[in-house]
Subunit: 344 residues, 2 copies
DNA sequence: TTGTAAGCGTTATCAC
DNA sequence: GTGATAACGCTTACAA
């Protein structure tokens, strides 16, 4: 049972069990073609010898790598400022693990890096399928992958930006409705939003939804875009509060900015939530660590990762997936939102 | 130049250029064995046909996968609560990208999962090298990898826990010195620390260093362990502040807990930094988003990831690495630390 | 300089 | 049921 130094092959197992290499292959893969007796013997010996299939050889013979590809945009700031990606990877990885799949990660650093990594994977066959995240408006990656139907792809995005690709749709639009209605019910009639980068597709989706819902409810709505950092979040907040008739509620696209917004309000002597309500779109540990705890729109990102893994495996099996809805967001009411003051 | 649907092989390139497959291989790999004329022709045709090497075939022939393995402990909370891992991955990935390497990620869910993933990689040869992070005290992974010298490994850890493995050593011990000395110079003589899980090797390293330095300087020092979440951070803070003679400064092992500690102090009417100084060990966006901004011990984690990638590639090339020191931490003084009140 | 052919370790297709 | 043997696509001696 000692761990073998030199790698053992099916030929070694075959010799040790006195059968042919193909018999070994059948036995190990649970296929018919060998008697139960020899199968048992082969399995026993393979285990004793510590045999494991060589990944490269298996991949070459089966044209299956047992790998899912994930391209991350290289912006350490963006990646670090939110726990979204790490949670997604956690769920994805945990689910893939059950099916003997691994996650192959590459960083897209530079201009057309993302596109060329995808091209590379299509040509080299280094992954069995890909997960596409952070789609931008008019993203060329979508077009490329639409053409290459031989590469299974799942997009995590709003269905309106993922073209013909199979999609795990975010519940953003619904959540916007939920959030705005919540503030409306609290009496707010003038709200603002501190959003992420404008070119990100999901920013755009939220932008539109916010505008629509605010109009529908007859509320005043103002939106400023940032790069997700607390600095730009603070700036935006200051600008919003600089008007005498400032909004009575601000929704932030991530929790770091919500936190910095809370700080700005405090520094300017504006009481939260009595004079100003604050909501965060992400619900990370930060929201419960802050004082007062931040009201947030939360969702189960780890669960989304797991769901994505399941769908990817379906796609690899040639099953149809289409457009699947993500679990809805949940409004987690905490200490930074309240009813609007009777008069101002 | 149209993208080929069916994969093109070197034989296709060979036929199209009227040479043999080996000539093509030589030409494409920049090896001697072909005239410059044919090389140019082959390269041109290969490009026109959109040829890219098949990953599995190349891996099988060269016994090189162009992949680095990373095992993450599956605890979405732990992974999400800090940006450390995502930053490390960013740096790692960006540097690997330059050398045509990818990152293969697997989640260790369950008891001995980490160990068996490592065993799997040793046997299947699915990665060329491994990065070992989050080593625990007496970690069996270290022992296993020490035996398998054929698998290049870099540990990111304190050299005292990584055995004979090549190591990128954290500068934790030095940083502890720096932090405590800083508080001492501000007049603090009674400090406390809210630490992470006790079984993590780096917690232990810091534990020891803190004890030593405090003793050396003749300071009172108290330490409580948590699971890194804001809830346990708050609890620990409350306990520390419940004594009439409470510490005048608290250092937290991560920024979420520091933030929650700040909240606890505020809620109890203790002014920061006038009556209590607070420091965070990690410096993420949260520290500059909080109000007041949190003083923190920061370091360039992305840079550490890049350095790790370089060292791993060296190891793969058979070079000696040994024990390399990480860049030192940097004390980033902000609004939550100050001199101790003249009398209490 | 060029082409032929033997690996690399599997899986899959055949006859037997 | 079993065992040769040919793919899989590339690298690399070894011949020509």
């Amino acid at each position: 049972m000692a761990v073998q130094k030199s790698k053992v092959t099916i030929f070694d197992v075959a010799k040790a069990s006195g059968v042919s290499s193909s018999a070994v292959s059948y036995a190990l893969n649970g296929k018919s073609g060998v008697s139960e007796g020899t199968r048992a013997k082969v399995l026993k010996i393979a285990h004793e010898l510590g045999w494991k299939p060589n990944g490269a050889a298996q991949a070459l013979a089966k044209s299956k790598t047992q790998r899912i590809g994930l391209v991350l945009g290289y912006d350490p700031k963006l990646l670090a400022v939110e726990s979204y990606m790490m949670e997604l990877i956690s769920g994805l990885g945990a689910e893939l693990e059950k099916h003997d799949y691994s996650l192959l990660v590459r960083m897209a650093v530079g201009e057309h890096a993302k596109l060329s990594i995808i091209k590379d994977w299509i040509a080299t066959g280094n992954v069995d399928a890909m997960l596409l995240v952070n789609i931008e408006l008019g993203d060329p990656c979508v077009t490329l992958l639409e053409e290459h139907t031989e590469m299974p792809v799942l997009a995590i995005a709003d269905a309106s930006v993922s073209g013909k690709l199979s999609t795990l749709s975010s519940a953003d639009a619904d959540a916007v409705h939920q959030a705005v209605q919540y503030l409306y019910d609290l009496g707010h009639r003038h709200i603002a939003r501190v959003a992420g980068p404008e070119m990100l597709a999901h920013s755009y989706i939220r932008d539109s939804a916010f505008s629509d819902v605010a109009t529908e409810l007859g509320m005043r709505y103002r939106c400023l875009h940032t790069d997700y950092t607390p600095e730009t979040g603070s700036e935006a907040t200051k600008r919003l509060l600089s008007f005498s008739e400032h909004p009575t509620a601000i929704i932030y696209d991530n929790d770091v900015m919500a936190l910095s917004g809370l700080g700005v309000a405090t520094a300017e002597g504006i009481t939260v939530p009595d004079e100003l309500s604050i909501m965060s779109w992400d619900d990370s540990f930060m929201c419960t660590a802050a004082y007062p705890n931040l009201t947030a729109m939360g969702r189960d990102v780890v669960g989304t990762g797991m769901r994505a893994a399941e769908l990817l495996l379906k796609l690899i099996d040639g099953e149809h997936v289409g457009n699947v809805m993500e679990e809805p967001y949940e409004l987690r009411q905490r200490g930074t939102t309240g009813s609007v003051p009777a008069e101002r």
